[in-house]
């Protein structure tokens, strides 16, 4: 399985977010902390949702925040933010969101394999609630199937 890199510093547990923008920005901060994206990438992720709506809430409780490859992306990588209290994104079926994935993709080529890795993990419906309940970054990495 080829998930994008998910180091411990790209994981934030129990973040207090006032609204969806806060939640998405927290995933941007985690991507920046891990060296995957410049700080401006968080704005791009927020803008995608402002422009296109809450479609990034692709499963119950789960948002996949991302923007396009570009100068704000430094390397392929994944961030995971779990929220202390779920927030509404305005999605008709999958709200409220308790887990935000931040995805940075450096180039479109080859990203399908990494996304397939994400599908492997999240096709199991117990993954989102388990991530939401996780209390350590180690536990999150274990649930995502990456070494601990």
């Amino acid at each position: 399985m080829t998930l994008p890199p998910l180091p411990e510093r790209a994981i934030s547990i129990g973040v207090r977010a006032r609204d969806w923008r806060d939640a998405v920005r927290a995933s941007g901060e985690a991507l920046t902390r891990a060296g995957f994206a410049r700080a401006s990438y968080a704005d791009e992720m927020v803008r995608m949702i402002e422009e296109h709506g809450p479609y990034v809430v692709i499963a119950p409780g789960l948002a996949l925040a991302h923007a396009r490859p570009g100068p704000a992306v430094l390397a392929d990588g994944l961030a995971i933010v779990t929220l202390a209290a779920p927030v509404e994104f305005g999605h008709p079926h999958n709200d409220p969101v308790s887990v935000v994935l931040g995805l940075a993709i450096a180039s479109v080529e080859g990203h399908l394999a990494q996304v397939a890795g994400l599908a492997n993990v999240f096709n199991d419906p117990s993954t989102v609630p388990a991530l939401a309940a996780a209390t350590t970054a180690d536990e999150v990495r274990r649930l995502m199937g990456v070494g601990s």
């Binding site: 995608m48 296109h52 692709i58 991302h66 008709p92 479109v108 397939a116």
Partner: protein
């Protein structure tokens, strides 16, 4: 047969939809090419598509089309995908 998965960026969510659609097609024994595209390129990407897969937000932006527009709520629910693809293609 061609199926197009649409999202805002043409990566990420539409790619997940593409991957899971291919898995479901295989399970159903159906053959089709599945493409991921962004909503801005819908007119060219979907010109020769039979089915467009997307989330509720993009239905309006996709506009009039000869393809079946199928709305997927949970991108990771292969059962939902299978039922809706079966209905659209069957």
């Amino acid at each position: 047969m061609k199926i197009v998965a649409i999202c805002g960026a043409g990566i990420g969510s539409s790619a997940i939809l593409k991957v899971n659609t291919e898995r479901v097609l295989e399970r159903l024994g159906l053959e089709a090419t599945v493409e991921a595209a962004d909503v801005a390129s819908i007119k060219t990407a979907a010109a020769d598509a039979q089915v467009i897969l997307t989330s509720p937000e993009f239905v309006e932006a996709i506009g009039p089309t000869f393809a079946d527009v199928v709305v997927i709520l949970n991108y990771f629910d292969q059962q939902e995908l299978a039922e809706k693809l079966d209905a659209a293609l069957g």
